[in-house]
Amino acid sequence: MSFRAFIPVLAFAALVVLLSLGLREDPSRLPSPFIGKPAPRLDLPTLADPSKRITNADFAGKTVLVNVWATWCVSCRDEHRFLLELAKSKTIPIYGINWRDTSAEAKNWLQQLGNPYTEIGEDQDGRAGIDWGVYGAPESFLIGSNGKVLHKQIGPLDQQNWERDFVPLIESQEPGT
């Protein structure tokens, strides 16, 4: 038997490997087109005082986490515990985008569960959500001190994905290292 006879078998095996790798990927987690690009525009009234606004200028020159959440989002409740711990550790300021929610419910949630956010912008009509490419809360963006998006987490943050995906990037941002 010549080697040529095995070509179809090899091709089939290669296809099986390719497709089984594809099956492992979670199709609900889409890669963000913003990675490595400047953070999208942010300009929202703050939850605490709607006469004030939160904009990109608020976190210019800083490494920050931008977290998209809503009170109707079940897994945001799970994530909230981790965000509180993260805020306590003072690793990084957390800015919130309260997506498609009402002020009353958002305030109630923070009162009951605690507030890990440095500042929260209210995106009641989902306009900012679209600008940030948000399609399902919770989503979190790591913004570097140069204003670029370093990483995006779709789904709740926890100790594991924080240490794996965020910590190395944050450390690489620190000045003098």
Partner: protein, 143 residues
């Protein structure tokens, strides 16, 4: 009777299709047609296998509203698709555009077809080069 049933069924179906998109229609039927064409091309990212026309997820409603706004502002179809791809990636479009990374999707069938043709011609040429009475010759040689 049968015709009446068919008409009733069709009307029922269109009724539900209309109900999802509760926005106002454009006064200009041309703009309305463009709008309807675009919302058939855009994936609802939340419920990935439906278009934003067919989805009642609020993300789909938000995207329809933005597309309506952009059409009113006089944006071209390409500008609207760019807006979506910039934010959600090429995956947002059901029919990927032939540029950049997605070019390979459009060219691959042609390349495969061409490759197949080249192999086929190669095999046929080799066969034609064989003596037609090759089998007989072999048998004769053996005996």
């Amino acid at each position: 009777m049968r015709r009446a049933l068919v008409i009733a069924a069709v009307l029922l179906l269109t009724g539900t299709a209309r109900a999802i998109d509760t926005g106002l229609e454009f006064d200009d039927p041309k703009l309305q047609a463009r709008y309807e064409h675009i919302i058939d091309q855009v994936r609802c990212l939340k419920c990935q296998n439906t278009t934003i026309r067919d989805s009642n997820a609020f993300l789909a409603a938000d995207l329809r509203r933005e597309i309506r706004r952009m059409i009113e502002e006089g944006k071209t179809d390409d500008e609207i698709y760019d807006f979506l791809v910039e934010r959600y990636g090429e995956f947002a479009l059901y029919k990927p555009r032939a540029r950049g990374k997605t070019l390979v999707l459009w060219l691959a069938p042609g390349i495969l077809l061409l490759g197949g043709a080249v192999i086929l011609v190669g095999v046929l040429r080799r066969r034609m080069a064989l003596p037609i009475d090759g089998d007989d010759g072999e048998r004769e040689g053996r005996s």
